[in-house]
Symmetry: C2
Subunit: 213 residues, 2 copies
């Protein structure tokens, strides 16, 4: 599946939650389309691909859509995940409520700093990174979030792969080198900011040229 398509499904889900909070029970393809900047045709094809059926004159049932898109994304289950690196970013992530929304259950925190080992964040104890492999193996944890500096990420990733981790959510600005079959989802904050820079430059030059062009 194309990344744009996946993005679209996630945006549908976001819109559905909003519509539901407004008390709506059904939604038409054109409504979703307008908010997503695409045609109703595209939406109907997306939903059709998921075997979701609507009814003429009524549209689609929001509750059905939510369940089917969620199950496609596999965010209804709760996959155990460990987070390594209890710095400011790590803490922010631990304290957020994104884990359950995205189909994960944050079960373990690790850091190498004696000052934070033994403390707890959001009720989850911070364990000594030296004990990482053993815990990961015993618990059968297959996903990990790396909230570490770039110079430490590769070494930690190597250890985690050896312990059985098969999927990473990586915040370090580095291309991790992992064996085939291991998934790395890079969260490059820098790129969001660069994209903003580009969009500002483009808007300013467009406005300078005038709207006729």
């Amino acid at each position: 599946m194309h990344r744009e398509t996946l993005q679209r499904y996630m945006n549908y889900l976001l819109l559905l939650t909003k519509l539901k909070s407004e008390g709506r029970a059904t939604v038409t393809s054109d409504e979703l389309a307008v908010r997503e900047g695409v045609t109703g045709s595209r939406v109907r094809q997306d939903l059709s691909a998921l075997r979701i059926l609507g009814k003429p004159r009524q549209g689609y049932r929001i509750a059905d859509l939510e369940i089917l898109i969620s199950s496609m994304l596999d965010i209804l289950s709760a996959k155990p995940v460990a987070l390594v690196g209890i710095g400011n970013l790590g803490r922010a992530l631990v304290l957020s409520d994104i884990w359950s929304h995205a189909g994960f259950d944050l079960v373990a925190l690790f850091d190498a700093d004696p000052a934070v080992i033994g403390t707890a964040v959001a009720g989850i104890p911070v364990r000594d990174a030296a004990t990482m492999e053993r815990f990961i193996q015993e618990q059968g944890i297959e996903s990990a979030c790396l909230a570490l500096p770039a110079d430490k990420a590769q070494a930690v990733a190597d250890r985690l792969v050896n312990a059985g981790v098969r999927a990473f959510w990586n915040f370090a600005l580095i291309d991790l080198d992992v064996p085939a079959g291991i998934i790395v989802e890079n969260q490059r904050l820098e790129q969001g900011l660069m994209a903003l820079s580009f969009r500002i430059a483009k808007r300013n030059s467009d406005q300078a040229r005038g709207p006729q062009d």
Copy 2:
């Protein structure tokens, strides 16, 4: 410009930095293509669109590429930007080195919590959010990063727009309502994690079915 294309330019830039650190001075379109998972043809078209010229048998000069892609993204200048919300996420962002890499200069921090007002992060003083509008106006700041809870983001965005801010990097999980011409770049951490969930589910089902399919 399509979002995928913009992404590609940013990835080229990342690869160039890496190649330069390895002592390379030139790079061919096929080299960039392989690392980006695209054909040399696509790379040559991307670079051609930027009026970047290579030389047969040698490829492109890395130094030239870096400057031209950077100037297209407008990350060579230093646009002043303010950050609102000195929580864990805000601190992590302030302490990162992404601002200058992406063409921004972080010049002001704001928070409403008396406990942090008057303190400093990375040498930058945290100001009272009550004085936000005045400072933004006086300094002519046109960009802002929102590292706030979703329920406070809209109100702060409204105030900032009134004070002259015309571009937002938004971490709050909310669709900001802003006037036409104001740019909002949403950094949805949740979506990265959902994408990981989907990729894991897909890999696991692919492996279960076997590689023949």
